[in-house]
């Protein structure tokens, strides 16, 4: 899916990780032309490719040899942005050096733990970033295993940070005429995301800790669970009124505004007769209409058929490929231009399919055809 905010921009994405892949996807989603550049011996497209690579052009180029190096130099002269998560230091240094030769290019380097410092050379993964940042520690139940967010979300957070850094540098370029290098580490980006917990630790001597019960504000209903957030006295009063619930006066002290947080089990028992007679959707619609925040616990597989997401065109309506019907539809971008439904039709490139088309105009004088 794409919108038209950045359709004046051209970017090269180098590296096979999710960090660069998702940053490139954000650019495509926002309308930029993105060339995914791979070395010939790069890992083949994996099963994440349909998620990350649709709408990108694919070029395969060996910049370790002189003709390829010269072609890369010429290619970078034509772009605004270079996004890289290369973890081979020599390859990364080559690309960075060539990008720095172009005064208007914004070069964004994405790493897991930072490119300098004591952890720079440590092997890493999404789980390791999550473990080092505090994200793992705070998810799950007290005494039970800490949990990362599902999937590779630290890589996506780093990609969003890289996207922001690159665009901030472009805003600066519009004033100064100059590009620059931007660095993002997933570890730093995740610690930034967790700013409230980091500050809480200083304010409250080591807190926060994992909760005693991790289901928190999820309540059972007739066909699953709903989350109900009772953040004010008026929300509490509203719920009791519309469901006709009258607490036992002997338990009244458990349901005061200050006591409710510590008495979730009592609240569950109080709500159970009503909730177990209603579906998720009935509870969701009923509470939201009276301004009490409520959410249905949904399996991701239920999302593409959700009436709200259909109305908004939130998922790709067109299969990404006739040969892989099991994948997709995929969720669209996290932002859009108001009133527009993002366009959905775009293709997954075959590896290297755009090499000749995009490099041929750059070939004059290199003495070698593109691969």
């Amino acid at each position: 899916m794409s919108i038209t905010l950045l359709n004046s921009l051209k970017a090269v994405q180098i590296g096979t990780g999710i960090k660069a892949g998702f940053c490139g996807k954000l650019l495509v989603d926002a309308g930029a032309e993105v060339i995914k550049l791979d070395l010939p011996d790069a890992a083949p497209a994996d099963h994440f490719s349909p998620w990350l690579d649709r709408g990108k052009a694919s070029v395969v180029l060996d910049w370790r040899i002189s003709e390829g190096y010269e072609l890369l130099r010429r290619l970078l002269d034509t772009v605004d942005l270079v996004i890289s998560d290369l973890d081979n230091p020599q390859d990364a240094a080559t690309v960075e050096r060539l990008a720095a030769e172009q005064p208007r290019v914004v070069y964004t380097a994405l790493s897991d733990l930072g490119r300098q410092g004591p952890f720079a050379d440590r092997p890493s993964s999404d789980l390791i970033v999550s473990a080092l940042s505090g994200m793992c520690y705070i998810n799950g139940e007290a005494g039970r295993p800490p949990l990362r967010e599902p999937g590779n979300q630290t890589a996506i957070v780093a990609a969003l940070a890289g996207f922001m850094g690159a665009l901030a540098a472009l805003v600066d370029r519009s004033q100064s005429g100059l590009g620059q290098a931007v660095e993002v580490s997933a570890l730093e980006a995740m610690v930034n995301v967790l700013s409230p917990s980091v500050l809480q630790c200083s304010y409250q001597n080591g807190a926060p800790f994992r909760r005693q019960t991790a289901d928190g504000f999820l309540f059972d209903c007739a066909d699953g669970k709903v989350s109900v957030i009772i953040s004010s006295q008026s929300s509490w009063d509203t719920i009791l009124e519309i469901w006709g619930i009258v607490p036992d006066p002997n338990e009244a002290d458990r349901f005061t505004e200050k006591a409710r947080r510590a008495n979730m089990e009592s609240i569950r028992r109080l709500f159970a007769p009503v909730l177990l007679s209603k579906t998720r959707r009935e509870v969701f619609e009923e509470l939201c209409l009276v301004r009490v925040p409520c959410g249905m616990l949904l399996n991701p597989g239920e999302l593409p058929s959700d009436k709200h997401l259909i109305a908004r065109g939130s998922f790709d309506a067109v299969p990404w490929s006739s040969t892989a019907a099991a994948a997709g539809p995929f969720p669209g971008p996290g932002f859009r231009i108001a009133g527009e439904i993002p366009t959905t039709e775009r293709c997954l490139p075959r590896p290297g399919e755009d090499t000749a088309r995009l490099l041929a105009p750059l070939l004059a004088g290199t003495g070698s055809p593109a691969q």
Binding site: N139, P145, V193, Y203, A311
Partner: protein
């Protein structure tokens, strides 16, 4: 000192709580002049209310103080580098001053449900009349269109609605929600991204636009990898398991609440792990195959736990990293504050806190622009703290007028008079 990339950008910010305030802090960190507008009578809920007794448990250990609404770690973690003013937008006078501010602004930001701006008479069309190239960023829970558009939502309801809570939980266990209102932060990242994209577009075209972030869609976008997976409906809580990497887990270590995270990326990592653990079961040649490891993941995790549970996490981290494996002791937030990597990069710098709170380490700028880096310049803005200085500077109001407005509760800091 170098200029900052957004130093020439002024944003009038109506957002509240985590998602919007975080988005605007990210932009303020890059140098934008962010003017946070709150109601005189109803402060940002993340301040915890005017009176501590009604608020969230969000204060420093030395208590809520005289102005508890300026001492909440929640609000203070996402409102640095901003100016704080109050205006009552429901009054003609407050609305008029707001629209005057818009004339010199590049962007306006808000995270209300869609009807609110319209009802206040300050929707995108009204803003464009004041400033034709204005950018409006709207961050409602469910977006500006669709059947749920007017429904309220916060992180704790967005997370179940997005599928994240369905997948978050111990493998084979019950779904859980995150330990923090994580979807708010995700929406914040997307909000800052959307506004930056709109600024880049304006530089190219000269035109502003109205961009929106559905907090719901922003969270769903984090789960794209799961939509590559056939049989999505059969997926449940995954623990720390990965679609690609086997094993990938957090294992109990020696000591209370001590854990070690280990990832095996490929066969070489697997051989390294087997060598470290030395369990004959894991030496089976068939387990060099990722598919076979996937089939026997329960068994493998049990064998790893038998090894880790008798050893200190820090020692295992050192041993496994020395062997070339991705491994880490799981850090709590005290550990994060002491992280060697973050200390070496200077990412956690001691920064001034408001209201007499001792300086505290806070995360730095989310992306490091080498030539024009962002900076931490101001502590978190107090409720209405800069009302007189900002309105005097930008609207040319004299001291007498400002005093009168404050006396009548139109502007000012803290609870309204009376």
């Amino acid at each position: 000192m170098s200029r900052m990339p957004l130093e020439h950008i002024r944003i009038i910010d109506l957002t509240q709580a985590w998602a919007g305030s975080y988005a605007l802090q990210l932009l303020a960190d890059f140098g934008a002049e962010v003017i946070k507008v709150e109601s005189r009578s109803r402060p940002d809920p993340w301040r915890g209310g005017f009176e501590a007794s009604r608020g969230l448990p969000c204060y420093p250990v030395d208590g809520p103080g005289e102005r508890p609404y300026n001492r909440s770690y929640l609000a203070n973690s996402v409102n640095r580098n901003k100016f704080g003013i109050t205006l009552d937008l429901a009054t003609a006078e407050g609305k008029s001053m707001f629209l005057e501010l818009v004339k010199s602004a590049d962007a306006v930001t808000e995270n209300f449900t869609p009807r609110v701006l319209h009802n206040l008479g300050i929707d995108y069309d009204a803003l464009r009349k004041m400033q034709p190239s204005i950018i409006l960023l709207s961050m409602p829970a469910f977006g500006l269109s669709g059947p749920y558009r007017e429904y309220p939502g916060i992180g704790g309801t967005i997370e179940p609605m997005s599928g994240n809570a369905w997948l978050l939980g111990e493998h084979g266990g019950e779904p859980q929600v995150s330990g923090v209102m994580y979807p708010d932060a995700v929406a914040g990242l997307n909000g800052a991204s959307a506004l930056l994209a709109a600024l880049v577009a304006r530089d190219a075209t000269g035109s502003g636009c109205h961009v929106e972030v559905s907090q719901h869609e922003a969270m769903i976008a984090m789960l794209g990898e799961f939509f590559t997976h056939g049989g999505l409906e059969a997926l449940g809580p995954r623990g720390n398991r990965d679609l690609e990497l086997v094993p990938n887990g957090v294992f109990r270590a020696l000591g209370e609440d001590e854990w070690v995270a280990i990832t095996v990326r490929h066969t070489i990592d697997w051989e390294r792990l087997v060598e470290c653990i030395g369990d004959p079961l894991l030496r089976a040649p068939a387990l060099r195959s990722r598919d076979e490891r996937r089939r026997r993941e329960d068994e493998i995790e049990a064998a790893i736990t038998a090894w880790t549970s008798a050893r200190p996490a820090s020692e295992m981290e050192q041993e496994l990293v020395r062997a070339g494996l991705p491994a880490a002791r799981v850090r709590n937030f005290s550990d994060v504050l002491a992280c060697r990597q973050l200390a070496a990069s200077g990412y956690l710098a001691m920064t001034a806190q408001p209201e007499g709170i001792a300086p505290a380490p806070t995360p730095g700028i989310i992306a490091n622009l080498k030539r024009t880096p962002g900076r931490i310049r101001l502590p978190a803005a107090g409720h209405g703290e800069h009302s007189s200085s900002v309105l005097g500077r930008l609207l040319g109001l004299d001291t007498e007028t400002l005093s009168d407005l404050e006396a009548r509760g139109v502007i000012g800091a803290g609870p309204p008079p009376g």
